[in-house]
């Protein structure tokens, strides 16, 4: 196969970027999308040019590193598939591809296709956990958990934190990402004590990071490689309203800081 690639190139956070056009020749249909880019990079390096930087690691669709828009679609055209698991047999010989980084204010471009997703880490650090220390935990079987709840929590916990939901959203909202954590921990008895605080803190952090609001277009669900359901956003909204009504003045971080 032969392809024409239009790739976003940007030197660093500060310099403006631009699209550059490359030819990808002898592309095998058995290659993954990233292997196709690897070949391009090898060619660029040999010609003395700098390779196209992109995030990637596990290449089996679980680490959440890879992140690019392919023809305007987060992770490309295949349903429920990360870029690293997308194979070239899904494209036509002679096709033109437009490859860009995630686009969102809260995901600034670091270089080429690499963006800074530490805003996601800060959202989790604001409250996306169960506040237990190591040790002194009760026996794993002490609290029975209904299988349906555990399965539901697992559905949400499958989120890999890649950011495709944000990239696909016209408002660059990270509600699907937050709701995945709400759905994961909020459906388990272990997450119950901090359920409301968790939601409030994560949403506050989300807004502070510059993510946009959710307007129920569900582009996020369509783009999600792990098929996280927007039903969790409904759960998030319910919890958030409940949290806004509750008066919460006691807070672990203020106690431990003192």
């Amino acid at each position: 196969m032969q392809l024409t690639l239009h790739v976003w190139r940007q030197k660093d956070r500060n310099e403006p970027g631009r699209m550059e056009t490359y030819r990808a020749e002898n592309v095998s249909p058995d290659m993954s999308f990233l292997e196709m880019l690897d070949e391009l990079n090898e060619k660029l390096i040999k010609e003395g040019h700098e390779p196209v930087a992109f995030d990637h690691d596990c290449r089996e669709g679980i680490c959440g590193s890879c992140s690019m828009m392919i023809n305007g679609m987060a992770h490309g055209p295949e349903r429920a598939t990360t870029t690293c698991q997308l194979h070239m047999r899904k494209f036509q010989d002679g096709e033109e591809l437009y490859i860009e980084p995630w686009r969102a204010k809260a995901f600034p471009v670091i270089r080429d296709l690499v963006v800074d997703r530490t805003s996601f880490d800060r959202i989790i650090a604001s409250g996306g956990y169960v506040g237990v220390n190591t040790g002194g935990t009760p026996d794993g079987n002490m609290l029975p958990v209904p299988k349906e709840k555990q399965e539901l929590a697992m559905d949400a916990a499958a989120c890999i934190g890649c950011g495709a939901c944000v990239a696909a959203c016209k408002n660059a909202s990270a509600m699907l990402f937050i709701s995945a954590k709400v759905g994961h921990l909020g459906n388990l008895p272990q997450g119950e004590p901090e359920r409301l605080k968790r939601v409030r803190k994560m949403v506050d952090q989300h807004d502070a990071e510059g993510f946009g609001h959710c307007t129920n277009q569900y582009e996020c669900e369509a783009a999600c490689p792990k098929e996280i359901s927007v039903g969790f956003i409904a759960q998030l909204n319910r919890d958030y309203w409940q949290a806004s009504l509750a008066v919460n003045t006691r807070d672990e971080s203020s106690v431990s800081a003192g």
Binding site: K46, C63, V132, K147
Partner: protein, 639 residues
């Protein structure tokens, strides 16, 4: 070098209990005076960083990924073992201990493995409390499955994503500490060297992958949790970024590297599809429960598998191992596939594959039943190969998967350099010559949550009072920083003809051939000679574009490959000097007439820990003899 394992005295079952009772404690008010560097934030590193911070130590953590949630622990599918005996099927700490020791072909340290089995039960409780959504029964209690040939059901799991869910538990615990400002987290930062001052590990030198800035961080102790070195083979099931740099750099600064030849090859991976292949994907071994493995009896048979009549198929595992058949252990199944392929009977690209056929089980149980059990695997197979595993046999081939060797550590998980601790896959201690399924997650979390926090306290409490702790302006720090900068500048200035990836691919091929599933004196000698030549060429003919002052992916790769090129030789040398076959290390010269591995307990019941002697001198092979107080090595037979 004297290797003192510092195993506590007393009966095996009470060593750890006694250790905890006797250990010195650090006064709570003094804990904040001690600082720890944790490199790597996978299961072991993430768990350690979170727990040490909870205890009150000053923790600084580093990872090369963009977030501490992404380490390759995340990719583990199967599960995590624990001796809970929830199934009432006769499991116990002793049984888990014994299975692990036997699985490791009696090449692990008894006391460490027993401690691992003891704390396994705490891990499950901890993870449940963190909200890890383990599979459950309808009554709400935790579900288990039997895994990797164990006779009891002791494996806990979260669908096919156990590694990811445990990883998120550790990541969230770590994030909580980061959010409180107690752990200072540096992501996209790679450790490139170790600082040793007056014989004690005092810090690390890092390179910020975004800005290229080289910096020194000092602390009272350094913890390496940087994973295994499987990517020395170029093609493996590891993430692309996994590398040996941190542990190998520590080795060059004096840390002994133990048993580098112990590598595990997983039998059911999707075969290579072409020269462009960048990594291999593992499919759960559970497929072997129902699939039948075969190869054509004729050499170079290019017919479509469905056209090959029954009489011309060789179900070689069923033929050679009638009692275990397709469920023969990993190393045996892997070697048998390679033999078939070496014999010219392999299938698919380059003849590097064998068939895994579900036709019989589909006929017997119906497609629906197979779908219910394995659908995600069939889907994954089709996504990668474009072939339908229901309509024709899948193709599989073994791939490097895990490394049991690593930096040598004593019972305290401390290397021979005081103050340098090593946890998780990066150390060598618990899996011997072969790791059992669902044990890697257990070891990573055991080290991070429940062992290191105790042993590190013991270390700190025993330190003499220091008036002036070294800072990052110390002469040694400046010297090592300048070393690092020189290395980088050198690579950028070469302007040669070949890329780091090309060298890496070649190195992988040499090691796969010479130091892979089956090794010989000759193949290993050849590999060492070839690597030496290649390493010299690398110093002259490498091309790395760009600069060292921004994100430069080619430069990152070049640095890692440089270390793999040195490490690859050490691995082959270790395999050459271990003149026996055990676990994942199979020397063709040492086998029984029926092809079974021939262990030599008289000469090789020891750990080989290599000591670096400089670039031009051969390393020294030191030995820690393994003592057997509680168990007696037996022949590991699966006939």
């Amino acid at each position: 070098m004297k290797l003192d394992a510092k195993v506590p005295s007393g009966p095996l079952q009470s060593k750890w209990t006694q250790y905890k009772a006797d250990m010195k404690l650090v006064n709570p008010a003094n804990k904040r005076k001690f600082s720890v560097i944790v490199v790597g934030t996978g299961l072991a590193g993430g768990a350690a960083a979170a727990t040490l911070s909870e205890l009150g130590y000053q923790v600084t953590a580093f990872c090369y990924q963009d977030s501490p949630r992404r380490a390759h622990s995340i990719a583990a599918q199967g599960g995590i073992n624990a001796a809970k005996n929830y199934q009432n099927d006769g499991d116990s700490v002793w049984r888990l201990f014994y299975d692990t020791i036997k699985g490791g072909d009696f090449r692990a340290r008894e006391a460490n493995v027993h401690r691992l089995a003891e704390v396994s039960v705490n891990i499950i409780d901890q993870c449940v409390a963190q909200g890890v959504p383990f599979a459950r029964e309808y009554g709400g209690l935790l579900a288990n499955r039997s895994f990797g040939g164990a006779q009891v059901s002791r494996t806990f799991y979260c669908r096919g994503q156990t590694g990811q869910q445990l990883m998120l538990g550790a990541y969230q615990a770590l994030s909580r500490q980061i959010g409180y400002g107690k752990v200072k987290m540096h992501s996209r930062t790679e450790m490139v060297d170790l600082i040793v001052i007056n014989g004690r590990a005092r810090g690390i030198v890092t390179r910020n992958l975004e800005t290229g800035k080289v910096e020194t961080h000092v602390a009272d102790a350094v913890v390496l949790a940087t994973g295994g070195y499987t990517n020395v083979f170029y093609l493996s099931t590891n993430a692309i970024g996994c590398n040996v740099t941190a542990t190998y750099r520590a080795h060059k600064r004096g840390a002994a590297f133990a048993n580098p030849c112990y590598t595990q090859i997983h039998p059911t991976c999707i075969p290579v599809a072409g020269e462009h292949q960048s990594k291999l994907t593992l499919m759960s071994e559970s497929l072997r429960n129902d699939g039948r493995i075969w190869a054509p009896t004729k050499k170079g048979d290019t017919r479509h598998p469905n056209q090959i009549p029954e009489g011309e198929r060789d179900y070689y595992l069923e033929r050679k191992y009638p009692s275990y058949g397709n469920l023969a252990p990993r190393d045996i199944a892997s070697r048998a596939a390679k033999q078939v392929s070496d014999d010219g009977r392999g299938v698919g690209y380059g003849g590097l594959g064998v068939y895994l056929d579900f036709a019989d089980v589909i006929k017997r149980d119906g497609k629906a039943r197979v779908t219910e059990k394995y659908d995600n695997l069939f889907e994954m197979y089709e996504r990668i190969t474009g072939e339908d595993g229901y309509a024709q046999p899948m193709r599989i081939y073994p791939a490097p998967h895990y490394t049991m060797g690593g930096l040598w550590v004593d019972y305290n998980l401390m290397s021979n350099i005081p103050g340098l601790f090593v946890v998780g896959e990066a150390n060598f201690s618990d899996h011997g010559a072969n790791r059992l399924g669902a044990s890697a997650l257990m070891q990573g979390l055991a080290d991070g949550y429940f062992i290191l926090p105790y042993t590190l306290s013991q270390f700190f409490a025993g330190l003499p009072a220091e008036k002036d702790k070294p800072t990052s302006t110390h002469d040694e720090c400046k010297r090592v920083e300048s070393d690092v900068q020189q290395r980088t500048k050198k690579m950028l200035s070469l302007k040669g003809k070949k890329t780091a990836v090309e060298y890496h691919r070649e190195l992988g091929r040499i090691l796969w051939e010479g130091c892979g599933m089956a090794r010989t004196k000759k193949s290993l000698g050849d590999a060492i000679a070839k690597i030496k030549v290649m390493r010299e060429e690398y110093k002259q003919n490498l091309i790395v574009p760009g600069t060292d002052s921004n994100l430069n992916v080619a430069l990152e790769r070049a640095g890692r490959v440089a270390d793999f090129l040195e490490f690859g030789e050490l691995m082959a040398r270790d395999a050459l000097t271990r003149e026996e076959s055990c676990g994942g290390h199979f020397r063709e010269e040492y086998q029984y007439p029926d092809g079974e591995a021939k262990r030599d307990d008289e000469k090789f019941c020891h750990v080989a820990a290599w000591e670096y002697q400089g670039e031009t001198k051969d390393p020294i092979r030191n030995v820690e003899t393994l003592e057997w107080d509680a168990v007696h090595p037996t022949v590991r037979s699966y006939k």
